[in-house]
């Protein structure tokens, strides 16, 4: 009876493998998000003027601010269908073509986040007193929300999104 003992480790080994695959709930995506505001200042170093982005805590009417959204999947599984939704805060208006976001599908809303469309498809209609209807393309400053949709953020994956606003 010299053959039996070696089978034990094999069995144990199998068990271990089974255990790992049988507990899929251990693998989970975990998205983390942070948002920061920055504004550009002109700095003079050794007579050379350079533009530099600094963290903003205050702003005045007419200022341009850049909001940067950083996301990271700190989980151990891909996050799918990540929808990053950012209402444009009251008191600010979106600056046309300022949005960035690699690998993201970007859309906007002009109705408080009910509907989202690509910028070029954002239209609304006005019924004139004459009864006819006029179609208008929404102006960027009318946007109420920005939405980035990212199909998949792999485990450990991260990215950066940004857009600019003007303080009213």
């Amino acid at each position: 009876m010299k053959t039996a003992p070696p089978s034990i480790p094999i069995l144990l080994c199998t068990c271990a493998l089974v255990t790992l695959t049988a507990l899929p709930s251990w693998a989970k995506p975990k998205m983390e998000v942070a948002i920061t505001a920055g504004k550009e200042v002109v700095e003079t170093v050794k007579g050379e003027k350079t533009r530099k982005s600094v963290s903003a805590h205050s702003a005045q009417s007419g200022d341009t601010l850049t909001f940067t959204v950083k996301y990271k999947n700190t989980g151990n599984e891909a996050a799918t269908n990540a929808v990053i939704n950012n209402p444009i805060a009251a008191g600010m208006s979106y600056i046309d073509n300022s949005v960035t976001g690699a690998n993201a599908d970007i859309s906007f809303s002009i109705d408080g986040g009910k509907n989202f469309k690509k910028a070029s498809f954002l239209t609304y209609e006005v019924k004139l007193p004459t009864g006819t209807t006029e179609k208008h393309t929404a102006r960027p400053e009318e946007y109420t929300h920005i939405r980035w949709t990212i199909k998949s953020v792999p485990a450990g994956g991260s990215g950066e999104l940004s857009y600019k606003v003007k303080v009213k």
């Binding site: 920061t36 909001f67 209402p87 239209t123 019924k127 109420t144």
Partner: protein
Amino acid sequence: MKSRNRSTSSGALRTLFAALAVTAFGLTTLSAPANAAVQGSAGNTIIRNTVSVSYSDAGGTAQTAVTAKVDITVTTVNAAPTIKAVTPSPGSTGATGATQVYAVEIVTNSNGPGSISLTASDGSATNITLSATTPAVAAPGSVFLGSSIIDPNNAGFLGVAQNVAVGGTITFNIPNDGGVPTDSATTGGATGNGIVNALTTGDTVYLYDGTNYYGKFSVTTVTDNAVGTGGSAAFSTITLQNPASATLPVAFTPAYGWMIVEAKTLNVTVTQGVITTPTNPATWTTTFTGTMGGQTGTGNVITNATSGLLSVAKYVRNVSTAVVGGTSIAPPINGGGATFYQTGVSGKPGDIMEYLYVITNSGTGAVKAVVATDAVPTYTTLRSSSAAYGADATGGATGTIAIARRTGNSTDQAIKADNSAGNIATAFGKSTGTTAGSIMTYYLGNGCSTTAGGDLTAGEIAYVVYRLKID
């Protein structure tokens, strides 16, 4: 278009949504007037930007969304204040030392609370005192004024015509100020103290759309809410009442970004100094300057001063031998009848010549301290006790005085009041002697003395008569 229309994208827009044609993606927008003068955001406003991420796992199961937020505080920007009203306009003063109090109303144009100083200046003819203020302010000459804006979260109000009846109120949501200002300082406040951006109960405010002011209104209530932890900062509210004293329209169609600006009134006293060069009409312009952080706004008011304007003309007649000359006058003194001439009168040695001054105040106010001097001409001798002009002289018209120098001695003496039906005017006169070169001095007008002249009020004429004998 400036940004005001997007106000409609959240609040009133949704209201209009139902009323107007809506398509699949339909939103209706209103055109609000673009007013470059108003700042869209109030100072101290906390703009909260909240981002949220919803996602699923690999199997498509939705996970708990995560959020993050960042707050930006809007800076208060100094702006040139408006001198809204100066009353009365024009003002008026009497003679030197008379005062006129002006109520100077200052309105802030800043987007937040701040101190505004007031100065006043004008020509050298006056001096100015900044006096008691209404309401009282901490430091004379400066006021601390609050300011906020109509928040975008005012569904039902924005774009909808309002008309606030006398005694009625309207309540607006206004941005949260983080509790920072007090009613008299930019810092030191606290949430819940009933003060938002230095606006509080009892304040006087206007609504301002960048072009027109509405009101003014009395602030009856301010709720000063905590910022909170929500997706956006909690707003505060302000309730405005139309007092019976509203001076401007109270019917308006409010929009997001309209300013709610505080007004205060300072009383400024202008004192009339000596007007060294009398002119009629005598006026001057006082300029009031409000300054906030180096930004100035000015307003002017005209003060009409009453000022005397004196002229003198000299005539003569030959008493001994009548000689007809040119440019005559028959003054209403001594019963009238005597005619004096400016030119063409001659005399021979021994003739009695009678001289006449006519001193006229043709101004709008009194002339003070009227003193006339003359010298006995060469080759003549001053007559004393000239009987034609004694204490019983009559015939002066109302408002005139007739005087005659009766004696030639050098002592002061009363010489003549006008006819008693008119103004009571007294004159004194004296001469250093009767020979050629003697100086005659006349103290004329109401309130004169043996050493000082008195007043001639507007329109009054003084006649001074004396006689000489040609040597």
